[in-house]
Amino acid sequence: MLPVFLAMNAAFMGLFIIASYIFLDKAEGAVKAFAVSPAKVWHYLAGKMGVVAVTGLASGLLTVALVAGGNVDYPLFVVLLLATNAFGSAVGLFIASFFDDLSSAMGWVFGSVALLGLAAVSYYMPSFSPLAVRLLPSYPMLFAFRETLLAAPDAGLVWANVGGYSAGTVVLFLLAERQYRRRMTA
C-alpha cells in the first residue's frame, strides 16, 4: 500500500495542487501584478513548484515515518520524493498552461490523474500489465518507492528513476514556461 500512497502524494497531488494555485492566481488577478514586475516567468513557476515540494515532502516524510518507521533508506527516499514531486508539478504546469481557468482544465487534470493511477492497478495485479500501462511515467515510480522501503535497496534503480523524472521535469517545465510567457495574462 505504501508505495502507491507515496507516489500519489508525490506526483498526483502536486499535479492537482499546482494547477489550482495557478488558476487561483489567475482568477485573483495576482498573475497580472507579477507580469508587470521585473520578475521572470520561470521564477514565478519555480516558486509554485517550491511550495508544492515543501508540502509534498512534509506529508510524504510524515506518512513514511509513521508507517514504516526506521525501515527506510531516508536519504534515497527524500531524493526520490523530491524528483517525483517536481515531475508531478511539471505535468500540472504543463496541462494548466493550455487553459485559462480551472473548470476548463478540470477534465484533463482528472483524466491524467486517472490515467497515471492505472499504474497502481497494475502494481497490485501483476497480471494486468499491458505495455501501455508499463510505459506510464507513474509505473516505475511505484517500484522505485518500494525499493527505498526495502532492507537492501537497489540504489542504482532509484537513481535511474531520479534521473528520468528530473529530465522529464526539465522538458515539461521549459515547454510550460514558454507557453506561459506567451499567454499567462491573455
Binding site: A30, K32, A33, F34, V36, S37, P38, A39
Partner: protein, 239 residues
C-alpha cells in the same frame, strides 16, 4: 517616454478591434489622460503598453523599450495600477507589498511608509481578503508606486472610491507629477482628466477622436463630453 503608432488590438483576432489605429506620444514629465466611456478601449491600450496584452499590430515604444520584445528590465522603471484590484487575499497589506518589492532589482520605497501614504497603515497587519473594495484598490495603487516609477500607468485610479479617498489619491498623483514622473492616466471621468492631466486623448469605440489640453477640450466639446460621461456613469457596468 511613450510612442504609439497605428496600434490595433483584437481580442478574438476576428477582425473586430477593441483598439483601432491609435497613435499618440507622451513626453517625459507629462501627465497624459486617456478619456472615454466604458468599453472604449482604454484598459486594452494600457494592457498593450504594459506588456500584459501581446502587441499585435502597430509600433509601440515604452520607456525606450520596443514592445515587440520588451524584456523584463523595463518593469523596474514603470509602475502599473489596475482597474480591478488584484492583491493576495491571504497576505496582509504589509506582506503584499513586502512580497512584491522583492521582485525589483532597484531600490524601493518602504512598504510601511507607503501604506501610511494611502491611509492603510492602521490595517497593515490585516489580511487583504478582509479589506473593502476601496481598501484593496488603495493597496493595488500603493503597490504600483513601490519602485517610484518614472512612468506610471493608472487605470481608473479614483473610480469607485469615496470622495475623500479619491481626493487623497489625486493629491498623491499630483505630488508624483511634481517630482517629474510621466503618467498615463485612464479615466471615464472628465473632471479627473481636467484636474490632473496636461493633455487628454478622447477615445470612443477604440478610436482616438482628438488629443488636446483638457482646457481646450472643455471649451470645444465640454457639453458633449459631460453628456457622454453622465451616460456611462449611469450605465457603466462594463469595465
Amino acid at each position: 517616454m511613450v510612442e504609439v503608432e497605428g496600434l490595433y488590438h483584437s481580442y478574438a483576432r476576428d477582425g473586430r478591434y477593441a483598439v483601432e489605429d491609435v497613435s499618440f506620444a507622451i513626453a517625459k514629465g507629462e501627465t497624459f489622460g486617456f478619456l472615454g466611456p466604458s468599453g472604449a478601449g482604454k484598459s486594452t491600450t494600457q494592457g498593450v503598453l504594459t506588456g500584459l496584452l501581446q502587441l499585435q499590430k502597430g509600433a509601440v515604444t515604452v520607456a525606450g523599450h520596443d514592445m515587440r520584445k520588451p524584456g523584463r528590465a523595463m518593469f523596474n522603471r514603470i509602475g502599473v495600477s489596475f482597474e480591478q484590484s488584484n492583491v493576495y487575499d491571504k497576505l496582509t497589506a504589509l506582506e503584499n507589498l513586502e512580497f512584491y518589492r522583492k521582485l525589483f532589482d532597484v531600490e524601493t520605497l518602504d512598504p510601511m511608509e507607503l501604506l501610511r501614504t494611502v491611509g492603510l497603515d492602521h490595517v497593515a497587519k490585516k489580511k487583504a481578503g478582509e479589506f473593502s473594495k476601496g481598501m484593496k484598490h488603495r493597496l493595488t495603487f500603493a503597490r504600483s508606486m513601490l519602485n517610484r516609477p518614472e512612468l506610471w500607468f493608472l487605470d481608473e485610479p479614483t473610480t469607485g472610491l469615496d470622495p475623500a479617498i479619491a481626493s487623497e489619491i489625486k493629491d498623491i498623483v499630483k505630488k508624483r507629477k511634481e517630482e517629474g514622473a510621466t503618467i498615463f492616466l485612464t479615466t471615464h471621468n472628465m473632471y479627473i482628466a481636467d484636474e490632473l492631466c496636461d493633455r487628454v486623448a478622447f477615445i470612443i469605440d477604440g478610436k482616438i477622436k482628438l488629443v488636446d489640453s483638457p482646457r481646450a477640450l472643455k471649451l470645444r466639446y465640454g457639453e458633449k463630453l459631460v453628456r457622454i460621461d453622465a451616460r456611462t456613469e449611469v450605465g457603466g457596468t462594463r469595465s
